[in-house]
Structures are given as structure tokens and as C-alpha cells.
Subunit: 359 residues, 2 copies
DNA sequence: CTGTTAGCGCCTTCAA
DNA sequence: TTGAAGGCGCTAACAG
């Protein structure tokens, strides 16, 4: 027993398929009250559900929004996804999800898959990579996006433009002031702390990480401080933990047995999840925050706000970012920044909490 | 410039569309090597991307898996979503996301939307509700699912069957032993604690919450203990916080000024997020865990594992649950539990940590 | 305002 | 093995 079709509904109502279509879906033309009612009843009694595939084929548009993230279980992406979902609902569209682990090659596949499904627009979240080894894949991704846009697709990228991408019609970049905010964080931190700084960063070439590192160093310089040392590791909790272990050894070593005389460190992890990992490592090594080291993160992940000591961080309106990126791809909103260069309204906020309270 | 079509590719390669189709997509028939190569080159040079909508229309199947959750930003659902995503990838399908806030009416809409898109299968996560006020919507949801299944759709529900649903062909329920595990948790807790217990529960009628409450009470009874008092609130962090505030007053009140002599409480929050909220409230009220009260949650949310004091909880293999639910809807896996009643492999594990260490 | 006529892009019998 | 023809379900131009 297959799902009933529009034709069946039309037949039952004694009208033409076209008329039935006009009644059941929003058409410019308004059929007569009486006939409309009959059609609706017929549809109802048959349990008619329009075939979106067929509609899409006919209208060449699908009502789909493609979302690309590294990992949907990462609270950073989950928050953005929520925003995307909300905006999608406003537009009466559904969201198609693709997770790529951040690999440009996978992202390219995802874009192609979205294009195949004729997604009306695509939102790409997750740090871009400028690493040598990703160059080729980035180029392919850029080409794929280009083609997609040329065929009328709309794209919004959170953060940085895809490396090597031109800016075709319908291609939007939602700028996130990572660098500025990291700088502001550094300034505020420097105001309350006169010791050394260390940065726990992601792999070199991860643009989001790089930006935050650069911004932080700039902020330090602006405050007349020496640049921070940099520990590169994975861009996740495990990386943070690993780095935290190293730092713990360092802190304890410098303390030379007498911890109180050891040189304390102010640690900046380029995202909250890494910061939490680092904090866990320090704790595991018997160090306490902020007594033996202070630490700050970035993102202000909601789930982590109950963590103690409360984590200093930079609040990013993740959900809003998802919403705005999605809205930027809505046909109606088009034109605001079609040149791809106008200022974006994304702002963050340095949020100092207990984890960086110098004793 | 519209995307190029199969016909264009065929023309360029000098073959018929049928042949091109056979080359470009997995068909039973194997075209000649030479001709195949020509077609592939043509497709390549045109940047041909098959139109999934058209394919779907023709084959009446879409390569789509619909996932329904309450809130994708909730780490519980995000973890399940990751599992679903993985399984979807194994099946070379994409996942369509719908968030409903847990309202059966919205869930029904989502199912209809998935059906319209001819999703091959639907995975429903998130607690069912048996509340009076949801009865009607539940019935409609059940009817919608029934129709979907009758049309060949496959469904997997995590936890409980949809209230009022019959068990049509293709309808699977992935049982989660909430009750048993809550009972086990209660037993273990009772072994190390001889004071009173309180449960912070979700709204009555939320089946997952109800199960955990019931199981916990059973466990207590099995240990010869009096039933725990129950505080009903929202099934999220805010609810946990609110309940925590009340409990704090209670604890401090009973202490009558001399906190040490106050009756301590062992709190069981029916999920981790609520437990964290409650813990935050207690802390805000100047109480310490496990000194002034002990607390346990449920789920073992990954992001919360670094929380201190470490939260006692019940580990649930969330990602695995998502995977299994999804696989249960795969045509190949069909038949394992088509009767909908065979035992399921989901198991959890009571995990006692610091938050319930009696002083 | 309604019905008729063509496709949207692809797959799948069927005949060659 | 290949090509020709029909149809998947719906919408969008036309006529009436």
C-alpha cells in the first residue's frame, strides 16, 4: 500500500490534479471555497502527504538546509546547530546534517551530497585549515562550493572563508572576532596578573586556533608583556589534558619542591573544552586552580558553566551565530552583505571568573 | 546556469541516457569498458552531480534517515545524534534533523515531514509522555507513524514505544533499562548511606523520568529502606537548580543553625544535567557536596565528567544507542526483532564517584 | 477559476 | 550490451 498521490486525491474530489495542487499547497490562485473544501476532505480521508521529492523536482528547490560540522556531539557545534535549527524552522525548512571531523575532503563530499539533494543553502561551521596537507582538499572544496553557488545555492561559512575560495554570488562569511576577543582577554588578564602566560593551542593551521593565539599575543604585547609560550596539541579535551600534564610538570618543577615559590602560570586554552581538559590534568597532578595556576578558555560553553572553579572565558553567542549564518542564506535576507565584506554583528564578551582570580 | 543533467552527459558522451545512468550509478548491467570511460569523462568535465530528488522520485526512496530529538544542544541528544550519524554513514545515507522540544504534536509534524521527504527510516529519541494532556497528540503521532510504516517506512524509538502505538511491520523499540539501572543505583547507594533519600524528578508522565523514579524506589525498598520523597520539576538544568534551592533550604532548616547536626540527604536527580543544576544550587546556598549532601545523576554525560566533585551516575552508552537504533531500521538488519519484543543489548553501569562518598 | 499539457531528472521495463 | 519509451508525483505554463 503506497502513499496516496495528489492524483488520487484529485480523482476522489472530482477535480483536476492541478486544482488539487492549488488547494493543498500555497498557490497564487485561490480556488473556490466549495471545491477547496472537497479537496481538503478528500486529502484528509486518504491521509495524503505531498511528496516533497516530487515537489522539489518540479520546483527545483528542496526546502533543505545543509549543515556541516566537525562533530555534532561537541557542545560548540551542538549549540550552533540549535541556532541553525531555529532559523530553519522560521524558514519552514528542514536541516540536513553532515559531520566531517574537520577534514576538508569530507567537507567537500558533504557539499556535493547537499548539492545532489538540491539543498537550498549550506551552512559550514568549524574551523578552516590552512595546513599544507589540506591545500588540495581545500581547493576541491572551494571548487565544489563555487559550483554549488553558481547553480543558485547559497552558502554561509562561520569564521573564515574557505581557504582559496573566491566570493561568488550567494557566498557569505560570518566573521567571528576571535582575534580581537582573544586580545581583549589577554589585556584583562594582564591587568590582574604579572607572571608568565602560556597558550594551549590547537594544531598550527587551524585558523580559529591561530586567530585566538595571535590575538592573545597581540593583547599581551599591547599590555607591554612578553609573548606567551605556545603548546600545540589537539583541538579537543584530550589535547587540553595532555598539555595540562606537561604544564603541571613544568609548574611543579619550577617550584623546586617548594611549590609556593614556584613560578605560577596563567594558561590560556584556545577553547573551553581544552581548558577543562587542562584543568582536569592539573588537578590530577595535585595542583589547584587558581592557587597554583590560573586558566582561561574561549567560547563559554553552556554545559561547562557549572564547572568549578568557574572558568574565565570569552562568551560567544553560539546559537545566535547559527541563526545568523542560516538567515544570511535566506533569499529575503540576501543583499545585506553580498559583497562579502560588510561588518557583521557578531560580538563576544570577555568573562572573567574564578579560574583566573590571582590569589 | 543550472546544474548539468544526466541527459547532457549522455549527449556529450554520445550514448543514451539509459547507458549513462548505468555507468554513473550502480546498476546490475555492466556497460563496456570503453563506453563507460567515455561517460565518466563526460560527467567529470561537466561537473555532473546526480539529482538525488529525481533519483528518489524514480526509485521511491531517498537515502535519508530522519532523527527526532527534543533539543540537539542537550548533550544527551547530541551524543545519540553522533551515533545515529555514524550508523547513517555506514549505510551511506544522510540524516535529517528535527527538534521538537518533546511535544508529541511537534513530533507528529516531524514524522509527517519525514514521510513527505520519503525518509527511508526514522529514529525517535527523547522521552515519551503519558500525560493526559498529551493523549490526543500521542494518538495522532501513533497514527502518523503507523501510516509511515504501512507505506514501507522503518521506525526505531529509543526507550518506550510511542504511547498508544500498535506495532506495525518495521516498527522497532530499543529498550533502555532505566528502571533496572535506577534500582541498581539505589541499592548501591543504600549500601553506603543510612540517611534519607530524595528524588529530583521530571514532570509526572515523562516516561523516562517515571521509570527512573520507580526503579530507584524499588531499589530502596529492596534494601529495606523507606521510599524517597519526590520533587517534581523540569527535566533540565533549570529544574535541577530550582529543586536544589528547595533542598538547600530544607537541609539548612533541619540543621537548625548547627549544620553538622542537620539531617544529610542523598539526592537522586533523574538525569545528569538536573543533578548538575541541583549541585550548583546547593553550592550557591553554601552547602558542599558530599559533605552536606550527596548527589547522583543518570546518563553519564561525557562533557560533565570533569565536573567536581565527580558525579555518581549511571553510564548509558548514548552513542551506541543512537547507532543501534539506526541500524535496527536498516533493511539488512530487519527481522532481528521484528516482533518488537526480543531482548535488546543495551546495558548501562552504575558508576559511583565522589559526589556520593559519605563522609 | 478550472482543466489540459508539458516537463522537472532519473530509472526501468522492454525490445533490438 | 545498448537504446527507446514510459512513468515516479508534482507544478507551471497555457488554454478554456
Amino acid at each position: 500500500m503506497a502513499a496516496s498521490t495528489l492524483t488520487e486525491v484529485a480523482r476522489l474530489a472530482g477535480v483536476s490534479p492541478a486544482t488539487a495542487s492549488r488547494v493543498l499547497n500555497g498557490s497564487a490562485r485561490k480556488p473556490g471555497q466549495d471545491i477547496a473544501e472537497r479537496v481538503r476532505q478528500a486529502a484528509d480521508s486518504l491521509g495524503y502527504i505531498p511528496n516533497a521529492q516530487a515537489q522539489g523536482l518540479a520546483k527545483s528547490s528542496s526546502g533543505l538546509i545543509g549543515l556541516i560540522v566537525h562533530d555534532i556531539a561537541d557542545p560548540y557545534f551542538a549549540a550552533i546547530a540549535r541556532g541553525v535549527q531555529e532559523a530553519a524552522r522560521e524558514q519552514r525548512k528542514m536541516v540536513l546534517l553532515a559531520t566531517t571531523g574537520g577534514a576538508p575532503a569530507e567537507e567537500k563530499e558533504a557539499v556535493a551530497a547537499f548539492a545532489a539533494r538540491r539543498a537550498d543553502s549550506i551552512v559550514i561551521a568549524g574551523s578552516r585549515s590552512s595546513r599544507e596537507e589540506d591545500q588540495e582538499d581545500n581547493a576541491e572544496l572551494a571548487a565544489e562550493l563555487d559550483r554549488y553557488c553558481r547553480n543558485g545555492g547559497r552558502v554561509a561559512v562561520v569564521g573564515h572563508p574557505v581557504v582559496g575560495a573566491t566570493a561568488p554570488e550567494g557566498y557569505h562569511v560570518l566573521a567571528v572576532p576571535n582575534q580581537e576577543l582573544a586580545g581583549a582577554l589577554a589585556s584583562e588578564l594582564a591587568a590582574g596578573w604579572d607572571g608568565d602566560f602560556v597558550i594551549i593551542a590547537g594544531p598550527e593551521g587551524l585558523l580559529t586556533s591561530d586567530d585566538r593565539v595571535q590575538g592573545f599575543q597581540d593583547g599581551l604585547a599591547g599590555a607591554g608583556r612578553a609573548p606567551a609560550g605556545i603548546l600545540r596539541t589537539q583541538f579537543n579535551r584530550a589535547g587540553g589534558y595532555e598539555a595540562g600534564l606537561k604544564l603541571a610538570a613544568h609548574i611543579k618543577g619550577e617550584g623546586d619542591g617548594t611549590r609556593e615559590t614556584g613560578r605560577k602560570l596563567c594558561i590560556f586554552a584556545v577553547n573551553d573544552v581544552m581548558a577543562i581538559g587542562a584543568a582536569a590534568a592539573l588537578r590530577a597532578e595535585g595542583l589547584r586552580i587558581p592557587r597554583d595556576a590560573t586558566i582561561a578558555g574561549f567560547d563559554d560553553i553552556e554545559t561547562l558553566r557549572d564547572f568549578r572553579p568557574a572558568l574565565s572565558t570569552v562568551r560567544l553567542p553560539l546559537e545566535e551565530i547559527g541563526r545568523l549564518a542560516t538567515r544570511a542564506t535566506a533569499p529575503a535576507a540576501e543583499g545585506h552583505d553580498s559583497d562579502g565584506g560588510l561588518p557583521q554583528p557578531i560580538t563576544g564578551e570577555v568573562t572573567l571568573r574564578r579560574s583566573t582570580e590571582a590569589a
